[in-house]
Symmetry: C2
Subunit: 446 residues, 2 copies
């Protein structure tokens, strides 16, 4: 089971820069209310908690078919539909494309150079495409899907539909219609489950099974977190404490940045996945902390200077992996050189853990609040735990802030301008607005 | 030539949320002083500006030898020694390891799983290792180098030294000593050039030449920026304006986060490189903005909600690429579907540019300050320009803040704890301090 150590958030360690038990107790009513929002399940979007009970039979069957029939597996999706699968891939199958088949390409942009490169690398006839969009009309995803669909159709004629898996709403949307029409295989994203809470639906689990990860193990981890974090008493519920401490650091201590620093290359993308979850769920009504995805030890040589001596505007979330599943002993060479000889004989895992602990302590001495999540090992079970832990904590924290943690109204404006510029019906005025802004802008340019 | 459009930072567009010409004029004395710091060259660390005049003959010769003799090129470095090479690799040779030889592995951590994976992928006898550390004793770099050196020695005996290139100080340090002793090839980092300003030294240029990029073209771009940004008049100097506007947004408008959003996959790592440069140079004495590396269109589906409706604590730096060097037309399929049919017939490059402009405009309408850097194309010349532009802007901004933009005193404390735990001579007290902190910490754990 993952564990949360939050000593370095508290006044006992940090003095006045820390959170006191009294501050937490004073929030008890809000915490109870947030807890009730969760257990009463009036929010359809809490359906993500029920994903632990899904039948993974269809996912597993589809994945077996992919493994047998594809040299390359191409995922088209953006936001949660890409960050979820990518965080599974990087956490559980490092250097995948150099080691295993099918290779996996996750295309989550509309960068023409990237898509050209992918098309030059794969033989579409030997590829299977998984297009993931719940609404079925996400512009970036559908644009790139249209490109690959055209390539497939040219190469395979009427058999093209047999190379596509659509992961989308069970009933509605353009992609569902196309899938029916062209005979795609399909997997459904349950109605209540929104993008950034969808990693443990077919969105992430198909990729998991394709690369040989047991989806059931991930769900078992998530289910254990559901149990662990259903405790109403805040002092016994790590997800609630995690959210409450960050909420207090933001609201009462005016720290607007939460830095997540896994000490494991494989968790870098999980920390990017968390950044979407946290930012999009809580960033509204003028509120929200900015989640910063970082990586140890790497960012000790990039960001640590700012963390230590910059403004007191941050909280740090360390992640320490206990068992890397592989280890290497640093050989006892250059013993006589004082500057490096001491390294010989130690394990790399010792060094990375020592660095994590040292950075934690250095920040603590400078009164910079931090907490640490202990991850026993990088396997399906514990990655499933991490996903579920952060999702429950985020939904809970949304209720603490008093915002809807499941919507994202702020992204519509930009979409509408794009529709205008791309000639979508009914958006002419938006195009004119863009053109006017363009004229105005030329004044300041160097 | 790259261009800076800063209209959306100004009161003319943003009203009271913008910067006025008056605010900039009021800073004129500080700007002049910062300019003089740069032109008088009393800071040895301004040597990065002279890199444009270096002779690249030795680098090119070494790279040719690598291309002829290596199937895999392994870089060991951390901080600037990794972020610099990686940003060149990703900007100028996408999907490199699936397309070209020698493959490039940049190892910038002490994660045992990652290094084990690399060792299982390469044949050390057919690899060449480039170990990069100016001091010659960076713990992470030297630990992993010791591992690879041991592997090489076992495999090749006395010939092992012939497979290593050391990029380090011309005279001093453990790595220089080892290189002499074992007969490594060497390249020198000029004495004044510090890590995060070193990408256009052999640190980045060797990798560039190894992957077939003309180092001279990068330096030509940098030299043109040196000229362009030597102008003392702030209104004519884009590097000074870039720095001044961000400085004012931080100091006077209380915005503590600067988000960099290139709309091009290839610039994602350049934005991580910038994040080190900006954070480590300016984050001291309680000051410094937090640089956030982002990516468009991807983060429209991850961070945009927070940017639009979250707290007013951010400034946005867009990067728009004009020519991607490749393009794809979205086919006119699904014409009758209103939700996606409008996409058909457009180029992907049109779509990505429309999204960039739309996001810019949406943020501007919400009075969120932003500026845009126009990058004509992703080639050696313009990537060289970007590096030099940001380096000059950062050094200048450091002088505006009144801090030393070249040191990083805040990282020592954490290093010393690590030394203690790893048994380095003279650091016993630090080990004891870690052990004491450990006991204290167990109190809050879930």
């Amino acid at each position: 089971m993952i564990e949360l150590n939050f000593s370095n958030m508290m006044t006992e360690v940090l003095g006045e820069k820390g959170i006191s038990e009294r501050q937490i107790e004073a929030l008890r009513d809000r915490v109870d209310k947030a807890h009730h929002e969760i257990v009463q399940k009036r929010w359809a979007e809490l359906a993500f908690m029920d994903l632990v009970r899904q039948d993974t039979g269809e996912i597993r069957k589809t994945a077996e078919w992919v493994r047998k029939n594809a040299e390359d597996f191409l995922i088209f999706g953006i936001g949660g539909s890409a960050l979820g699968p990518r965080s599974i891939l990087e956490a559980l199958s490092p250097f995948h494309n150099l080691k295993r088949r099918p290779r996996v390409f996750i295309y989550d942009n509309v960068d023409p150079r990237t898509l050209s490169a992918i098309l030059s690398l794969v033989d579409v006839k030997k590829s299977i495409a998984n297009v993931i969009t719940k609404s079925g009309s996400t512009a970036e995803t559908m644009a790139s899907f249209m490109v690959i669909w055209d390539e497939l159709s040219r190469a395979m004629g009427n058999d093209a539909g047999g190379r596509v898996i659509a992961t989308t709403d069970p009933e509605k949307g353009n992609l569902r219609t196309i899938a029916r029409d062209k005979g795609f295989r399909t997997l459904s994203i349950p109605p209540g489950v929104v993008g950034r809470y969808s990693v443990l639906s077919p969105v992430g689990l198909l990729l998991a099974e394709v690369i040989g990860i047991d989806a059931k193990e991930m769900l078992r981890g998530a289910a254990d977190i559901n149990d662990r974090c259903s405790e109403p008493e805040i002092w016994k519920n790590p997800a609630y404490l995690f959210g409450t401490l960050l909420y207090l650091m933001d609201k009462e201590e005016k720290r607007n940045i939460s830095v997540m620093i896994p000490y494991a290359d494989g968790l870098k993308y999980l920390s990017e996945w968390f950044s979407q979850l946290w930012a999009e769920s809580l960033g509204k009504l003028g509120m929200g902390m900015t989640p910063y995805p970082s990586l140890g030890t790497v960012d000790q040589h990039s960001q640590l200077q700012l963390w230590m001596e910059g403004p007191e505007d941050k909280v740090f979330i360390f992640m320490r992996v206990l068992d890397f599943g592989a280890d290497i002993r640093i050989p006892e060479v250059f013993k006589d050189m004082e500057g490096i000889g001491y390294l010989g004989g130690h394990l790399l895992s010792e060094l990375i853990k020592a660095e994590e602990e040292s950075t934690e302590l250095a920040l603590t001495k400078n009164k910079r609040p931090n907490m640490t999540i202990h991850v026993p090992s990088l396997d399906a079970y514990h990655i499933g735990q991490l996903f579920q832990f952060f999702e429950i904590a985020t939904a809970f924290t949304g209720f603490l802030y008093g915002v809807n943690p499941f919507n994202q109204p702020g992204v519509e404006e930009g979409k509408n301008f794009t529709y205008g510029m791309m000639g979508k019906k009914g958006f002419d005025q938006r195009r004119e607005e863009v053109e006017k802004a363009r004229e105005k802008k030329v004044c300041y340019r160097l």
